[in-house]
Symmetry: C2
């Protein structure tokens, strides 16, 4: 396939690649919005937003975490989590209390309502999976690819911070 068009292709490929990587960013951006819009009608009956829902999911995997530990799992800082957790507490899903051993920390624990929500989450997850229209294998592959890319992006950001 190496022919006299090679020279032209070195001119053509870069713009193509540039357009594509633009599309990847936008594809991720659009997919995130589409997923959020799919979750909304499923979470609205519970008065929950998607970020609140994933905060609950983190607690289902381990109750009694600090705000910092939750933030590490979710990739969010206290500026986002503090008000979010206050709303979850006001809605009766969690409780917050200063750690007696270290008063700087706030321990977040599930209420009965917060634990009960985990059962309803099963149906929500099924709905979302169905809405994606993906096979289990496709979901696994997509998830893995995205996680790998995210790790590389975060590693790059960490390197830039060090520099």
């Amino acid at each position: 396939m190496v022919d006299k068009r090679d020279e032209a292709e070195t001119d053509i490929i870069p713009p193509g690649m540039l357009a594509l990587d633009q599309q990847l960013c936008f594809a991720v951006y659009s997919a995130a919005h589409a997923l959020n819009r799919t979750y909304k009608p499923l979470l609205d009956p519970y008065g929950l937003t998607y970020p609140q829902y994933i905060a609950l999911m983190t607690l289902w995997e381990g109750d009694g975490r600090t705000v910092k530990a939750l933030g590490a799992k979710l990739g969010l800082d206290s500026g986002t989590l503090s008000p979010l957790l206050k709303r979850l507490e006001a809605a009766g899903y969690i409780m917050r209390a200063r750690d007696k051993a270290d008063e700087r920390q706030v321990l977040v624990t599930l209420t009965d309502k917060g634990r009960a929500m985990q059962r309803d989450a099963v149906a929500i997850r099924m709905e979302i999976g169905k809405a994606t229209g993906c096979t289990l294998e496709a979901l696994q592959a997509l998830t893995g690819d995205l996680q790998a890319m995210t790790e590389r992006l975060e590693a790059g950001a960490a390197r830039d911070d060090a520099a």
Copy 2:
């Protein structure tokens, strides 16, 4: 591979699938944040946010669009775009003017500064592509998969609206 464990696997696979689809949503959510964080230091020197940047990109592909046309391309409504476009105008990247032929519409056009930004965007796109650590083929595949999933999610939302 069909053996006496089949029965157990029908119990095991659903939770596995449920956990995975959760991870897909979160993987998309995390990737969107990671991409946004990667863009931020590249766009900050221009005083642009990522949503503002993709609005400009849309205009580079066709100037003089209405707010509604921009919204259709980006998947955003006037509640998001109106203030965003005002900020882009205040920053000198675009101009907004009511359409003489239909005063309901606002036509958005690029300024010289807005057009000049397109040249700097080439370097930004290269940086992002490098930061993802993906090959061109991997970027294409990921983008295509995400676009296909997003289309299915949006089709489902449209069906739900009709119902």
